[in-house]
Amino acid sequence: MTGEAGAGLGQELITTIGLEIHVELATRTKMFCGCPVAFGGEPNTRVCQVCLGHPGTLPVPNAEAIAYAAKIGMALGCAIAPSSIFHRKNYFYPDMPKNYQISQYDIPLCTGGAVAIETDGVPAAVGITRVHLEEDTGKSLHMGGGGRIHGADYSLEDFNRAGTPLVEIVTEPDMHSADQARAFATELRATLEALEVSDIRMEEGSMRFDANISMAPPGRLGAKVEVKNLNSLRSLHRALAYEEQRQREVLGDGGTIEQSTRHWDERAGVTRPLRTKEHAFDYRYFPEPDLVAIEPPADWLESIAASLPELPAARRRRFEEQFGLSAYDAGVLVASRPAAAYFEAAVAAGRKAEPKEVANWLANDLVGLLTKRGESIEACAIPPEHLAELVDLVAGGEISRLQGREVLDDMAAAGAGGPPPAAIVEKKGLRQLSGGDELAAVLDEVIAANPDVWARLRAGDTKPEGFLFGQVMRATKGQANPSAVRNLLKTRLDG
């Protein structure tokens, strides 16, 4: 329990944050036995003698889990150890079938990577210390104390989750704000999503964050406070922001921060100290005698590397370069894998529309509409080709942007198998008047009906232009292409 003496009022404090992330792998089976991996279900129905820790049982590692872990390590820029081993981490807890966890200790599978992040336009790099494999524990249900462990009368154990492959990712303490932590967490999540190695649902526990935060004047080391129970990226941010503020106040008042663990209470919006046992944490690590070394052959590593998909950072760069999108737009699209996929399909199907336009329609109009309807882009009933067609129609001036939104609404309402936008435009007679005799004829009628206005315009008064313009729009029931009308008016005025 080390303490850091208070800095006193006014002294500059630097926040240092490190994250520890546990990712449940979406393999078919558990890390050391052939029981299926899944979420939920009836308790103790996905267990066998191995994952229950029955006497005499032995672990055999899941090859796919190792492949997934190597993929994660490579995607984060890590080196893969030529030989790594498993260790036993010994401690007693009722959700631990063997009262030791098979994990990795001083020779993990992956070490030394980095992730690039950006906050408020400022880039930074967060180092990855290590990525290793271990097995998950069972789940405890605490009874009689309102569900919390303190005040419970007894607990019930479900071992369905016990033995699920877990990858642990540990970052260097390279983040210095809650914003940076969230940016890192977001980028990590997007990277894992691209790799398709985990469900990454924080609410289901397939991705879990623990944070370490300390504050100290420059050049000094602060006492680390571990923050647990961060169940969403939002909680991560809120908790770290809160804890930063709390520590700043304590230190500012001349108090000390002790190395400790705190629990984030989402509802109350505060962190609270957790009771920790004094003799905790002597894990008595020793090499797992039941398992042999993992020594990935070069060709296997090559095939893993070759199988890596386009990662978010690379995809953002490509969207900027290939499609001319702004960094912001690229970021928005790439943050959602289904949105990025939809975007590319739409661009491929489009003809006249610029990718920027497609991006605009997708990110603003379509997503907004889907959100209002409680739908997702993943399950979007409107095929990307139809969006492309819609954007083409607007880009080509055949309908106005406003009309386009109306058509989009119709397309969404029609659902799967609905008609393409051209058909809707046809059916509703929305085709914009863009030029030619039809529009000229309307303009003539409007001029004829408003001779004084026309005279003033010809005399050089620009004010009534809007009125005439509006009259043309009214006469065409909004179907005239605005820029076509303006051009026509200008031509008439000049001519």
Partner: protein
């Protein structure tokens, strides 16, 4: 002959190992374990500076299994042997505090 092990050591290790030793056992073990550790310490003097540890007598690597499902145990079988069970789960007395 000084004992490398104190009574406090024995009590600490008993806690780590989850053994509720009796008073007599604590006393007896302090003596007996001390003697065994002294014997074991004979090797402490050996020069093993450049000698790597052996954790596996046979050098094997990459023993893995395919990611394929195997039948699970029937829950009735699993819970029948439980000292206490409730609602399909193993029941344990209340847990004080977090892990370890």
């Amino acid at each position: 002959m000084s004992n490398p092990l104190t009574r406090a050591d024995v009590e600490h290790v008993a806690r780590l190992a989850r053994l509720a030793l009796s008073e007599a056992e604590i006393e007896q073990f302090t003596t007996q374990l001390g003697a065994i550790l002294e014997h074991a310490a004979r090797v402490a003097a050996l020069d093993t500076a450049d000698v790597p540890p052996t954790s596996h007598p046979i050098p094997l690597a990459n023993v893995l299994r395919a990611d394929e499902r195997v039948p699970c145990l029937d829950r009735d079988v699993v819970l029948d042997m439980a000292p206490a069970a409730e609602d399909g789960r193993f029941r344990v007395p209340r847990i004080l505090g977090e892990e370890a």
